[in-house]
């Protein structure tokens, strides 16, 4: 029982972690809380659903989710956040909420508001060390692990990733080091969008696809981003895992309704002890 909940928690935690990664990357580099991250996930879930219905392939669904969420994310930047750059954080937050509404409304218009599910074949659980693990969980966990490896590979092993971390660290010094802000921003929004897309796809496969799914998951993603130390990508992922596991493992005790609230209890408890989050290192964010 505990083992099964642990496995479910890990999968759920990877979803939260990917969404929190999208939030924390934008916060670290563009320096505002992107409230549109959840609905960017939703766009990925619908794109994945369409691709899956057409092809039956989860890999193609993943590609479609990444492409759609990356495009939505980049469009949001070019059309809204770029013109508003250097405005106060509160303005950007409100703008992001607006973008979120627009994405949700468009998805609702196109796909309607009824819930849809991924038609995945039922399969017998795999026995592993006494645990019965649904094969889909293994697939999803593998997809998430690959997505995370790719994201961290970009951040730490590529030139544009280094430039992104430099801008997050000190935008003024980045400027006098010849780093071009526009290129970094485009890479940022594509990367954050891609992470949100994979998160949306996984959430859709695990639960249901609806226009509201991403918005409803946004607060948990924010909680993980804050818990991990806002601006810290590794912190966001680890905090996502922690919250996902805490939520699933506690479900038998606190019930389904309260497991969302639990994320915030954990977050508040940690922040009281460590105000900068578990892995916090970003200082002086405007």
């Amino acid at each position: 029982m505990f083992g099964a909940l642990l496995v479910a928690g890990i999968v759920h935690g990877l979803i939260i972690g990917l969404a929190a990664l999208a939030v924390t990357l934008v916060f670290g580099i563009a320096r505002f809380p992107n409230a549109a991250a959840g609905d960017t996930m939703t766009a990925g879930a619908y794109a994945g659903l369409l691709a899956h219905q057409a092809s039956g392939s989860l890999a193609l669904a993943g590609g479609a989710a990444v492409a759609a969420s990356g495009a939505v994310s980049l469009l949001g930047y070019l059309l809204v956040f770029r013109p508003l750059a250097r405005r106060p954080v509160a303005s950007l937050l409100v703008a992001a909420i607006g973008v979120a509404f627009v994405i949700r409304a468009v998805l609702g218009l196109i796909f309607g508001h009824q819930q849809q599910v991924f038609q995945v074949p039922l399969a017998w659980p795999i026995e592993f060390m006494g645990l019965r693990i649904p094969p889909m969980d293994i697939t999803l966990a593998t997809v998430a692990a690959c997505a995370l490896a790719a994201a961290f590979g970009v951040l730490h092993l590529t030139s544009i990733g280094r430039q992104m971390r430099a801008v997050a660290d000190d935008p003024d010094l980045a400027r006098v080091s010849g780093i071009r802000p526009l290129r970094v921003m485009i890479a940022l929004w594509l990367l954050a969008g891609a992470a949100a897309g994979i998160a949306g796809l996984m959430l859709g496969v695990k639960t249901v696809v609806s226009p509201e799914m991403g918005w409803e998951g946004l607060l948990t993603a924010f909680a993980a981003a804050i818990l991990g130390g806002i601006g810290s990508p590794a912190g966001a992922v680890l905090a996502g895992l922690l919250l996902g596991i805490a939520q699933e493992v506690s479900t038998p005790y606190v019930g389904f309704t309260y497991k969302i609230a639990l994320a915030f209890v954990v977050m508040l408890a940690v922040l009281l002890v460590r105000p900068r989050g578990l892995f916090g290192r970003m200082e002086g964010v405007r």
Binding site: Q163, R165, D172, G178, I179
Partner: protein, 236 residues
């Protein structure tokens, strides 16, 4: 022709002018110190040359070409480098990454190897996070980062401000060695006497204007400069 020529330069951050008509040159191969009281506009002048001041008018020319309207990227490409007063390294990046991240460098690998040779302390700690370096190492990294793009003019804003007193002398020695590498220097310094002692010329800013300008030795010997701006001999 002067490497850098500044004429009638005015400008500031908002409505009010911080710089009130500055005339100044930096010659090829020279070190020029800019001294002056707190708030005189020294950092503002440094930013204006790099292209970081929101509003500037007058003339700033590099090798005779007016660059006043050029953005930061263009000035970097033309051979100006800048080491800010605070925040002069990427603390969360490794030493090596601080050098790799500089853009617009021809043959970057070879340049990094050259600079790590020139700064052995950095070479030893190339995998360390820049934030974990000592003050002296950190400054070497700030210099190395600025030198990546093979600049002809380096602007240093208070290079010794964050250093322990024991590190100040070696820091000035490092600056003194720059012209031999083909790098001229415009240095803003509070430790005016020590800075002037490694400089060719000096300039004293007051209220956004050049109050005094001349050979470093002359300024050091000048009674009025000493009384008003440099503090007592042996002090500072």
């Amino acid at each position: 022709m002067s490497l850098l020529e500044i004429a009638h330069l005015t400008g500031g951050y908002g409505e009010t002018d911080i710089l009130n008509g500055i005339d100044l040159t930096v010659e090829q191969g020279e070190i020029l110190t800019v001294a002056g009281t707190n708030g005189a506009g020294k950092s503002t002048l440094a930013k204006a040359v790099m292209g970081l001041l929101p509003r500037a008018s007058g003339r700033i020319a590099l090798d005779g070409t007016d660059i006043l309207a050029e953005p930061v990227e263009r000035r970097l490409a033309l051979g100006i480098a800048y080491v800010p007063q605070v925040g002069n390294v990427f603390a969360s990046l490794s030493v090596l990454e601080n050098l790799q991240v500089v853009q617009g460098v021809r043959d970057a690998k070879a340049r990094i190897a050259e600079l790590l040779d020139a700064f052995p302390a950095l070479s030893e700690r190339r995998r360390a996070r820049a934030g974990s370096l000592s003050g002296g190492e950190r400054q070497q990294l700030a210099f190395a980062r600025a030198l990546m793009a093979r600049p002809r003019l380096m602007i240093l804003d208070e290079p010794t401000a964050a250093l322990a007193p024991a590190r100040v002398v070696e820091s000035f020695e490092r600056i003194r060695a720059l012209p031999a590498l083909g790098v001229s220097v415009l240095m803003v310094e509070q430790r005016a006497r020590q800075a002037l002692s490694v400089s060719d010329r000096g300039c004293i800013l007051d209220g956004g204007k050049v109050a005094m300008l001349g050979a470093a030795a002359g300024l050091l010997a000048d009674e009025r400069a000493a009384a008003l701006y440099l503090g007592r001999a042996g002090g500072a």
